[in-house]
């Protein structure tokens, strides 16, 4: 029977042929935890009697969520991770390197891999044609211990992005639009597979944005087929040898298919307090912003910072607005410096903070006051997400965010881009 990408990858990692609905123990290629989930994974690992990990070079700890540590309790958690990584000879990615999901795609994940991570946005790596999914600390502890996990092979929803993307519309707008359409549990327990002519033309950074947010529709993972664009990306990362073709079998029957005409999509936002509470920017009344965040594992890559800098060049952030920019990784940060992007951002009034998760998870580097409004390029806007339940969080593309920072209210980037 023709198989989906999820069924093909999982079958390769099992001792039997798998179809949607099967429950199986599968081999995993990469296991990771971050500083919010790693200490619990380590204590669970020890509780099971393991002092080491099954595959040290494929077991990765990232210190990114509270990096550098803003408080002593977190410094203690970081110490636990550092000491364990050394003793177990696992890979450690310490402060300043960047956000786990970006570092995974830059340096580790290969098409066809099974990747599990103690972070819900592990699905980002699905853009490289890897079955990548988030789990909790105990599941990840078992992954570290055995290099295996159990899971149910998911049904797959095929999403066909067709048509043409309008000026001022970006990958972020596509995925916000999709989540608004299918809702926050529209893909629960299922895989999303992205196809259609638009998907085929998206650059890797745009695919990462889309796969990153698959979990916001409840999906287990968000997969792209691999192609020349994937191949070129891996070549650029010095990892050409790990490229392989990943694609669904001809004639695969999906659980359902969703056709989206991208030419009908305008710049989109998610409104408080759910990602699926979506609307076109053109349809809202004036919403004043106190803070704008451009960055995170969703939209802190070079093309994101670049479009923001194009909008901000020669302009100033509106009076009373704080603009925070967070390059997603050290290499993105360095590239942005080389290309003069960081200088433009700073000149416009932005505060550029070190690569990491900081403001998005409400730990530090931009916690909001009561009643304040933030427009962010991150992936979720739940009540309390950015450290204050009395704040209001809106989500958008980097272009919408940058132009809104200039205007002082949520504004349509087509005003400046067309």
């Amino acid at each position: 029977m023709p198989k989906t990408i999820a069924e093909k990858i999982l079958s390769e990692h099992s001792d039997r042929d798998l179809c949607a609905g099967d429950i199986a123990v599968v081999d995993v290629d990469l296991v990771m935890a971050q500083d919010g989930t790693g200490p619990l994974a380590i204590s669970q690992l020890k509780k099971m009697g393991f002092e080491n990990v099954a595959s040290p070079r494929k077991s990765i700890f990232f210190i990114d969520h509270a990096a550098p540590s803003p408080r002593k309790e977190l410094s203690d958690s970081h110490k636990i991770i550092r000491e364990f990584a050394v003793s177990a000879r696992a890979v450690l990615s310490d402060i300043g390197e960047g956000v786990c999901h970006q570092l995974l795609v830059e340096n580790y994940v290969c098409p066809g891999n099974v990747v599990i991570g103690a972070d819900s946005h592990t699905c980002t790596s699905g853009a490289l044609g890897a079955f990548a999914t988030g789990m909790g600390s105990t599941d990840i502890a078992v992954g570290f211990a055995l290099a295996k996990t159990w899971l149910m092979v998911p049904q797959t929803i095929k999403v066909n992005f067709n048509g043409k993307i309008n000026k001022g519309v970006f990958a972020k707008d596509l995925i916000i639009y999709l989540i608004g359409k299918i809702t926050a549990d529209g893909a629960s327990y299922k895989a999303l597979e992205f196809g259609g002519e638009v998907s085929k033309s998206l650059e890797m950074e745009e695919r990462f944005t889309i796969s990153n947010m698959a979990v916001e529709a409840g999906a287990k993972t968000g997969l792209f087929s691999t192609d020349d664009i994937t191949k070129n990306y891996l070549e650029k990362q010095g990892r050409a040898s790990c490229f392989r073709k990943i694609y669904p079998d001809e004639g695969t029957i999906y659980e359902s298919e969703i056709d989206i005409d991208c030419s009908k999509i305008e710049p989109m936002i998610s409104m408080p307090h759910t990602v699926d509470n979506t609307v076109s920017v053109s349809k809202i009344d004036r919403i004043k912003v106190d803070q704008v965040l451009i960055g995170t594992c969703t939209n802190g890559r070079l093309s994101d910072l670049k479009i923001a800098s194009e909008i901000l060049k020669g302009r100033k952030v509106a009076k009373g607005v704080r603009l925070i920019a967070v390059p997603v990784s050290k290499s993105v940060y360095l590239d942005a410096i080389k290309e003069g992007i960081i200088e433009i951002l700073i000149e416009s009034g932005a505060v550029v903070v070190n690569p990491g998760c900081g403001p998005c998870v409400g730990v530090h580097e931009g916690i909001l006051a009561d009643g304040e409004v933030c427009l962010s390029t991150q992936n979720r806007n739940f009540k309390g997400r950015m450290g204050n339940p009395e704040a209001l969080l809106y989500l958008s593309s980097p272009a919408t965010a940058a132009w809104s920072a200039v205007r002082g209210y949520i504004a349509d980037p087509r005003e400046v881009l067309s």
């Binding site: 609905g21 669970q44 909790g136 159990w150 730990v363 009540k383 997400r385």
Partner: protein
């Protein structure tokens, strides 16, 4: 329950008897009602990120942004009763862990987000899927894990909840995932 493959349903039911022979528990308590889409940010707020290494302290802030008085009012054995997609958002296992620490006997919801559901089973917190529209805040409930029945004493009605997938019953029978791995020296699902 979406994780359940229909063709395996009969097997699951057979296995739930296995679970039940070992854990013939009836849980009793009051319902604390919440709406749809209760996120892990509401359950375990991000601003207490530094308390993740101290779950007892973190548990004092359980659901405080959804219901500020919750931890003061909840008593051992009470139930969290919610709408759909309970536990959506982050992978933080601390969320079901502190629900358990707070003394909650089980979470009843119309549906659960995937990662939260797995985490609940792994930490030994029953996460049960049933029609929660028929439960009001303050209702006295009896949850029979063996029979798969929620008795709403206050309203004098009975509700059924979906059996767990076979694989999760095995994990629960062993006392959680850590215990399953210790006992079997690996997976034995």
């Amino acid at each position: 329950m979406n994780e359940v493959n229909h063709k395996n349903k009969i097997k699951h039911e057979a296995n739930s008897e296995n679970l039940n022979s070992k854990k013939s528990q009836v849980l009793c308590g009051r319902a604390f009602k919440f709406g749809d889409g209760i996120s892990t940010d509401l359950i375990a707020p991000g601003r207490y990120f530094h308390l993740r290494s101290n779950l007892t302290e973190l548990a004092k802030h359980l659901l405080e942004d959804a219901e500020p008085e919750f931890t003061k009012k909840v008593k051992k054995g009470d139930f969290i009763v919610a709408g759909k997609n309970f536990g959506l958002g982050s992978s933080r296992e601390h969320a079901p862990a502190i629900i358990k620490i707070a003394g909650v006997g089980a979470v009843l919801a119309k549906s659960f987000a995937r990662i939260f559901f797995r985490n609940s089973i792994n930490v030994g917190l029953p996460a049960l899927i049933c029609d929660t529209d028929k439960i009001n805040s303050g209702d006295e409930l009896e949850v029979d894990l063996r029979k798969g029945i929620v008795k709403n004493i206050t309203q004098n009605i009975e509700l059924n909840f979906n059996p767990l997938p076979e694989v999760m019953i095995k994990i629960l029978n062993d006392g959680g995932l850590v215990e399953h791995i210790i006992k079997n020296k690996g997976f034995n699902l």
